[in-house]
């Protein structure tokens, strides 16, 4: 459990990719505020996230969002107990914006600064909901950058049981959507198109389910779609392909979750990350949880995608690791989840 108690409101900044987000969490009242600006429209005209433009937009938005978050919470900067920021993994230039603004805020008020691991934020996002999972649990982290099956024994006690050997799930969605002629970001568009599709019209592989193990591979699926897609595909064919693709992905994820639950004997399954907002994945995992009699925990959809609420929670839970804003401004593009330690035990 977190080493602190009481109010201790922590303000958190999330700027690891293309969302600028600010939130405030404390131990007694929970989430006090959360606000977010999405850069999707900015990057859409480029067909993907342009890191330099993402960094520039974070600089533009961040102060206004901090003011909104403070106002929503009814707090001033002097009322805070700490400032948290996403230190990685992510786009290094974008991360540095959050880190430097957080450091300035912390320096101004003499507050401690907490560097938060973005994926730990996702793992702990269900703690923001009324029904919280109990440790240990299995977590499926699925986003544009990650596909991870993680054994979570406690905060900072993570073991990666399986991961994608190539494309992340979200990446596979986006690339397949592009093949189908859908605009960026393709994942949610593909899911909408799949709603109109007939299941079973196409048969795509369930990669790496024919052998033991918990790793994933999604790059072959994209190739299978490219092969199956007629040059002059009509709307119904495209919808059918989208549906069969989505079924292949979600069934693959469910098979691996089933195996991991069997191997660990855990009674809880947490699903987080942007793809966790996918309706068909949610339905399939709900079936699995019912069949196995385990608890299923989703953050609400807005806390599946990148947000600062999860960073504020993780930052609050890690106040024991906070440091004064007088040293190195820590950010890192790569940061293995398994290198994390429980709060208060990190080497100096």
């Amino acid at each position: 459990m977190p080493h602190n108690s009481g109010l201790m409101p922590v303000l958190a900044l999330e700027t690891s990719c293309d969302e600028t987000a600010v939130a405030i969490y404390d131990g007694e009242r929970g989430l006090l505020s959360h606000t977010l600006h999405s850069q999707i429209r900015l990057h859409a005209q480029y067909g993907g996230v342009v890191p330099e433009l993402a960094s520039r937009d974070h600089v533009r938005r961040v102060n206004g969002l901090i003011r909104i978050a403070l106002e929503q919470a009814g707090l001033g900067a002097a009322d805070l107990s700490g400032v948290a920021y996403t230190a990685g993994p992510g786009l290094i230039g974008a991360l540095m914006v959050g880190a430097s603004v957080a450091a300035g805020l912390a320096l101004a008020q003499g507050l401690p600064l907490v560097a938060v691991h973005h994926m730990e934020g996702h793992l702990l996002a269900p703690m923001l909901e009324p029904e919280r999972p109990v440790f240990p649990f299995l977590a499926l982290l699925v986003s544009g950058g990650h596909t991870l099956l993680v054994s979570v024994e406690g905060i900072g006690r993570y073991r990666v049981l399986g991961e994608s050997l190539d494309d992340a799930v979200g990446e596979a969605f986006d690339k397949t959507a592009k093949l189908l002629g859908l605009p960026y970001p393709g994942g949610p568009h593909l899911a909408r198109l799949a709603e109109a599709g007939q299941p079973g019209r196409y048969r795509f592989p369930r990669p790496m389910t024919d052998r033991p193990g918990l790793d994933f591979s999604f790059s072959g699926l994209k190739t299978a779609v490219a092969t199956a897609l007629p040059v002059d595909a009509d709307d119904q064919q495209r919808a059918d392909i989208a549906r069969s693709f989505e079924d292949a992905v979600t069934e693959t994820l469910a098979i691996k979750c089933d195996r991991a639950l069997e191997a660990t004997g855990y009674r809880g399954l947490v699903v987080a990350g942007g793809v966790g907002a996918n309706r068909r994945l949610r339905a399939r995992l709900a079936d699995l949880a019912t069949r196995r009699g385990v608890g299923l925990y989703f953050p609400r959809p807005e806390f599946c995608t990148d947000n600062a609420a999860m960073i504020a929670y993780a930052g609050w839970a890690r106040l024991a690791d906070a440091r004064p804003a007088d040293g190195r401004l820590f950010t890192t593009a790569r940061w293995p989840l398994e290198s994390l330690q429980p709060p208060g035990t990190r080497a100096a």
Binding site: A77, S100, A108
Partner: protein, 241 residues
């Protein structure tokens, strides 16, 4: 009425912070390469500690807004944005080119051509004169161009002083393009926070310092990616060429 201001510059390979305390300036300045994330906070902390000042005693903040390294500029601008919001104090942004020009004016120069190596075979440059108060005042808009495309022809005559790493890298290209006399060339000069203080003081005195929310870097180089339409056009041009 005492005035205490903190200025920060991280736009180039230098990293500096300076305090104005009732007319006295103290500064810390280091050449850090690309390690601003490691050096800036300890440097600011030490500067404040030596002066016996707490951040809450500051009346305003000044950020060097570039041009320079995009990431470098954002570290200093980000720190100032966060500090100013946390302290509820006004801010002023000063360009790195104006800071370089002010340094030369303080050494007796009358007309200055500050120029910073912008990498990617380009330079940031501007032209500055001295106003009645002895402050650097722009004679044209700051710009980013390849050194071989610099147009100095509209500049007024007189004796010019050249400062900055752009001259260090491209003096052989730039010097013949200037139709006026070049008094001196300092190709190693880097911006220093103390000159941002000098330039920002009158803005604070006039009560014209602004909100940290509006503080924005001056990147100058704004085309950093091709849109889908431009990518398509480029592909079409390649395949037809």
């Amino acid at each position: 009425m005492t005035l205490r201001l903190l200025a920060i510059d991280t736009a180039t390979e230098a990293c500096s912070a300076a305090l104005w305390i009732d007319g006295a300036i103290v500064e810390r300045h280091e050449v850090v390469g690309r390690t601003h994330t490691e050096r800036l906070l300890p440097l600011v902390h030490a500067l404040l500690a030596d002066a016996g000042l707490r951040p809450a005693q500051l009346d305003g903040l000044i950020a060097s807004i570039g041009p320079g390294s995009f990431a470098g500029v954002r570290i200093g601008v980000g720190l100032v944005k966060g500090m100013a919001l946390g302290l509820d104090r006004p801010v002023v942004g000063i360009t790195s080119l104006a800071m370089l020009a002010q340094a030369a004016l303080d050494q007796g120069a009358e007309r200055v051509l500050p120029c910073i190596d912008a990498r990617m075979s380009e330079i940031y440059w501007g032209a500055y004169g001295r106003d009645a108060a002895g402050l650097a005042s722009p004679l044209c808009a700051d710009q980013v161009v390849p050194p071989g495309a610099v147009d100095f022809s509209a500049l007024p005559g007189g004796d010019w002083s050249a400062v900055g790493t752009g001259w260090g890298t491209y003096a052989d290209v730039l010097t013949p393009r200037l139709p006026h006399r070049l008094l001196s060339v300092d190709g190693a000069a880097l911006p220093r926070a103390r000159h941002a203080l000098t330039l920002a003081l009158p803005v604070f005195a006039r009560g014209e310092a602004g909100s940290a929310d509006d503080l924005a870097p001056a990147y100058l180089r704004d085309r950093v990616a091709l849109t889908l339409v431009e990518q398509q056009a480029a592909r079409a041009a390649r395949s037809s060429g």
